[in-house]
């Protein structure tokens, strides 16, 4: 329950940030007079970076990017996963074999290096990051959904619908998809934290959108300005703690959801 409250809090904060703060506060002109590398105090809640920008403000704006990428990449992952999983599971035969072979290839090749090379050859933008995460993380949800479809397909009510002359689309839309939906929901909740962590790493490597501030991008900036060895802890601790809290909350919430939807897991 605490995890859900925390998540809602982060989402609300991300949504209202543009109303309560001004993006112009990051402009060089407006930050010219600010102290640089200033430790936290009354004026700057979390201190300032090497350009004199407030870390607290960056943290708030960064939440928007991290959550946006987390959700958008998850939607893409699930859409690809559902399409491939449904097609493979429902049609079977050679279609299934070919799709599962491709899925296996993607499962074996290391996920993060693949995401890195993809992002490196494409334009730097938020949508690139979303696409890259979608392309590299669909295989596990495709497998999951396929196996569920395989078991649902054999149920009696599907046979009954088929005997009554229902078309394939009708069977998929009316009987199979609704039965797979809970599983899709649970796997989506668990895909969000993975997407957020991947975005963080890609941005840290300098593959993020250079015009946006994200938590991973802040860690990159901190690294570029040697914040770690200079003892400027206020620069690299807050974004990491924020990532940890959001990811932890999503994971706990996702596991709880999974248990509700799949009582077999409860014994674990």
């Amino acid at each position: 329950m605490a995890s859900l409250v925390l998540l809602i809090g982060f989402v609300i904060l991300a949504i209202i940030t543009p109303w309560i703060t001004d993006r112009a506060d990051f402009n060089a002109i407006n930050t010219g007079d600010n102290p640089t590398n200033h430790p936290p105090d009354g004026d700057y809640l979390l201190g300032t970076d090497r350009y004199g920008r407030s870390v607290a403000l960056q943290l708030m704006w960064g939440a928007r990017v991290s959550l946006f990428v987390g959700f958008a990449a998850t939607v893409l992952t699930i859409v690809i996963g559902v399409l491939i999983g449904l097609t493979a599971g429902f049609f079977g035969g050679w279609i299934d074999s070919v799709l599962m072979r491709i899925t296996d290839w993607f499962l074996v090749i290391p996920f993060l290096p693949t995401a890195i090379v993809l992002a490196a050859v494409l334009e730097r933008s938020l949508w690139t990051i979303v696409m890259v995460i979608g392309i590299t993380s669909w295989p596990s949800s495709a497998r999951l959904i396929r196996s569920q479809v395989l078991s649902v397909r054999e149920r009696l009510y599907v046979d009954r619908a088929r005997a009554l002359g229902a078309g394939r689309l009708h069977i998929v839309g009316r009987h199979i998809l609704p039965n797979v939906t809970p599983l899709i929901l649970a796997s989506a909740t668990l895909a969000v934290p993975i997407s957020i962590l991947t975005e963080t790493t890609l941005s840290f490597l300098g593959l993020g959108d250079p015009t946006e501030i994200s938590w991973g991008g802040m860690l990159d900036q901190a690294q570029q300005s040697s914040a770690v060895t200079s003892g400027h802890w206020w620069y690299y601790l807050p974004p990491g703690v924020a990532i940890m809290l959001v990811v932890l909350a999503f994971t706990i919430f996702g596991r709880a959801l999974e248990e509700v939807l799949d009582p077999r897991l409860r014994k674990r």
Binding site: R101, D104, W105, V108, I109, P110, F111, L112, P113, T114, I116, V117, L118, A120, V121, L122, P193, L197, T200, T201, F204, L205, G206, L207, G216, L219, A222, Q223, V228, T229, S230, G231, W233, Y236, L237, G240, I243, M244, L245, V247, L248, T251, I252, K267, R268
Partner: protein
């Protein structure tokens, strides 16, 4: 072990490798239409110079010709030239290989402590030990590994001064023999510890659920009925059966540790494959990145193959499948 099983697995691994080669080519030559142009973006080069560079990087001719030339190069162990200092990619990778094998190997061994911990946690499910272990693995899972690296570096190296702030050895050190070895060990401790902590939880979770799967098996009851002590039941009957899923997931984890090493090596300036990848991304040095990706993928595919074969050895039931 049956020959058919081995052949099937080897062919599977080779097909994955072929997929990586095609994917790699596609990515760097088709998605990115004119690599030479994007390498030298912003630099004013004469058209003749660009043509010459295209020839050097094998970019003239049709896509199919380029692909054939690429595969032929690969078969000769030629990965092209790095943009930095025009050195052969294979040479640069060769130099970076040993530090990474050392670091990833050590941290994998550290992380594997998680397997024993996971068996214990699963055996006494719901105990205080189990709760602690599970919470710990959730916590480390939620932190980017390189961020753990930053925190450790900031605290243990910068603040307390217990460890050097980075590199493979002290700069300008001409030590040899044992003292060189100790110096390298001192430099490796912190990054290896960070990667170990980041992944110990993954092993723990896998081992724990594998153990829980076996808890209700009849043969455990039988062993107890025979009068075996609990400890012995766990060691002789539960653990061997819980070992299977752990073996196959270890290979997947190996891929993750490799991925994690990219950012962690760059935090600790560890001169391995990870830092090379980081620098290639920053460059951007696309030929270097292409070679690194191929090598990392090949390493992970090989690890998966070994795990598959080991699985067949441990559980002969899969041989027929």
């Amino acid at each position: 072990m049956r020959a058919g099983f081995v052949i099937r697995k080897v062919v599977g691994a080779l097909s994955t490798l072929a997929f990586v080669v095609v994917f790699n080519f596609f990515l760097f030559r088709i998605v990115n239409r004119d690599p030479v142009n994007s390498m030298f973006r912003g630099r004013n080069l004469k058209p003749e110079k660009l043509e010459e560079l295209r020839r050097k990087f094998n970019l003239d001719g049709s896509k199919w010709d380029q692909f054939v030339a690429y595969v032929r190069q690969l078969l000769h162990g030629d990965l092209g030239y790095s943009l930095k200092g025009s050195r052969p990619v294979a040479t640069v990778i060769g130099e970076a290989l040993w530090p990474t094998v050392l670091l990833v190997g050590t941290s994998t061994l550290l992380a594997m402590i998680g397997i024993t911990l996971g068996y214990r946690a699963g055996w006494r499910r719901g105990s205080a030990f189990d709760t602690t272990a599970t919470s710990f693995s959730m916590l480390t899972y939620s932190m980017p590994e390189f961020w753990i690296g930053m925190v450790f570096l900031g605290f243990f190296s910068a603040k307390l001064g217990w460890f050097p702030v980075g590199g493979l050895e002290d700069p300008g050190s001409h030590a040899s023999g044992l003292s060189k070895w100790l110096d390298e060990l001192h430099h490796m401790m912190l990054p290896a510890l960070v990667l170990g902590i980041a992944y110990v939880g993954e092993y723990m979770i896998v081992a724990r659920s594998a153990m829980i799967e076996t808890l209700n098996e009849d043969y455990l009851q039988l062993a107890r009925a025979k009068g075996m002590r609990e400890d012995e039941v766990r060691r002789r009957h539960a653990v061997p059966n819980a070992r299977l899923p752990v073996v196959s997931l270890s290979a997947i984890n190996f891929g993750f540790i490799f991925g994690g090493a990219i950012a962690v090596e760059s935090i600790f300036s560890w001169p391995g494959i990870g830092q090379a990848t980081y620098l290639a991304v920053r460059g951007p040095d696309l030929p270097m990145l292409q070679g690194l990706f191929l090598l990392i993928s090949a390493g992970v595919i090989l690890a998966n193959l070994v795990a598959d074969l080991l699985y067949g050895k441990l559980d002969p039931r899969v041989l027929g499948r």
